[in-house]
């Protein structure tokens, strides 16, 4: 029989059961991706509850931050590359690809993702990148709209938003009726729902910087979406995350791209005004 050379260990199954138990400051570090400096701290726009808006990157552990800072090590770039393939692939009855009309996305889509959601005058509601892609597919390509969170939808959205890497988020709330949707989104942000009776603000405003079990709560910014999650080993779209948060409060989840979630996207995106687009961000 061999001598034991590994000390026995006691398995630690548990975690933190005390919600919002401790506070920790976000890190004071610079994020530079592919030589582009990211704005991870910005002066908040007028009417914002915080003085400074902070990227979720500042709240993550070193290994997560490093993975995002290295665009090769970032597995989210696999989705971006897949999006580039789709951009150049002909689909639908009109025999067109995205590139047929928009040529090189590096030029045509530069900084575009930083300005969405915009106002869709025809539909009389806000439009985000995902819905804009669908509109193009249906109206110009003669292709089917994507099902929510279809691999192609997430990859193409990631690719388009990645063309704004580093560009500060700046929406035009004077566009159409966006201001009304902002108001509606704000109301939802502060409305407590679910068996846990949490509003968005319960975690991302009142408890920002604290821990909910082992998760360091950020401001819940949208600037890095779609984002790569270590947890699922895949990309997570903004509406997927909205629904996930709402599910975690044990509430009924509104449908992706519903009026509720579009209003929330308008408001939450505005809360991150001035932060660089980080798509694809890397989170835990």
């Amino acid at each position: 029989m061999s001598k034991r050379f590994l000390a026995p260990v006691f398995a630690m199954v548990g975690g933190l059961v005390l919600a919002f138990s401790a506070n920790a400051d976000p890190v004071d570090e610079e994020l530079v991706i592919d030589d582009i400096p990211m704005v991870t701290r910005a002066a908040a726009p007028e009417g914002h509850p915080f003085d400074e808006v902070l990227s979720g990157w500042l709240f993550r552990e070193a290994e997560t931050r490093e993975t995002e800072a290295d665009s090769f090590a970032n597995p989210g770039m696999l989705a971006v590359e897949r999006g580039a393939d789709i951009w150049n692939t002909v689909e639908g009855s009109a025999g067109k690809s995205c590139a047929s009309c928009h040529d090189d996305a590096a030029t045509s889509m530069k900084s575009v993702g930083a300005q969405y959601p915009k106002w869709d005058a025809e539909a009389k509601r806000p439009i985000n990148i995902e819905l804009q892609i669908d509109k193009c597919r249906v109206e110009n390509m003669g292709a089917e709209p994507y099902k929510f969170d279809a691999e192609g939808q997430v990859a193409l959205t990631s690719y388009i938003k990645h063309q704004s890497l580093g560009t500060p988020v700046k929406m035009d709330l004077s566009d159409g009726e966006l201001q009304d949707w902002w108001e509606k989104g704000k109301e939802l942000y502060y409305t407590r729902t679910g068996q846990l009776n949490f509003a968005c603000a319960s975690c991302h405003e009142d408890s920002m910087g604290k821990y909910i079990r082992a998760d360091h709560l950020s401001q819940g910014q949208a600037n890095g979406f779609p984002t790569y999650r270590f947890n699922t080993g895949g990309m997570v779209s903004l509406h997927n995350r909205f629904r996930g948060c709402i599910r975690d409060t044990r509430a009924e989840m509104p449908k992706a791209f519903s009026d509720e979630l579009m209003a929330l996207e308008v408001y939450v995106t505005w809360r991150g005004t001035g932060l660089s687009v980080e798509t694809p961000a890397v989170r835990q």
Binding site: K3, L6, M12, R60, E61, N231, T232, Q284
Partner: protein
């Protein structure tokens, strides 16, 4: 009052006894004995400490993706050469994680990958040298349960 993450964990230590009653369905785990057996199968004898350095975060932000690096102090020429490095984890359903094989063309016996850890456990790296000697390093990685779908 501000706490850092480690202090926050320490605070929660009191909660562990409660959590140990089993909030999660547990599969059978590899455990220390099976892990030792796996190491002996690979190394042929109990490894010494030294020469190999395993780098892993003390606290993993998510157990599904934990970066680990190994580096062996070796000239990577003639007899002073690393043949293989095996990584095992003693708290996963199976201890095996990965085995790296180096050659003279590797230039350096160093590699990085990302691994899955089902819970807080020891990650062990064992290096087998061309002269038959074996070395190991061990790091405990704490795996926390996230608050949000984690």
């Amino acid at each position: 009052m501000n706490f850092n993450r480690r202090q926050a964990l320490a605070l929660s230590a009191a909660a562990v006894a409660f959590a140990a009653t089993g909030l999660r369905a547990r599969t059978a785990l590899a455990g220390t004995e099976e892990t030792e057996k796996r190491i002996l199968d690979f190394a042929g004898k109990a490894p010494e400490s030294g020469k190999i350095t395993l780098t892993a975060p003390e606290i993993a932000e998510n157990g599904n993706t934990v970066p680990v690096s190994v580096k062996v102090d070796s000239a990577m020429s003639d007899d002073d050469r690393v043949v293989s490095v095996m990584i095992v984890a003693d708290g996963n359903p199976n201890p095996e994680v990965a085995t790296f094989h180096f050659t003279a063309l590797s230039g350096a016996a160093a590699a990085t990958t990302r691994i899955r850890l089902a819970q807080t456990q020891n990650v062990i790296a064992v290096a087998k040298m061309a002269d038959g000697s074996v070395f190991m390093d061990k790091k405990e990685v704490k795996v926390t349960i996230g608050g949000c779908g984690g």
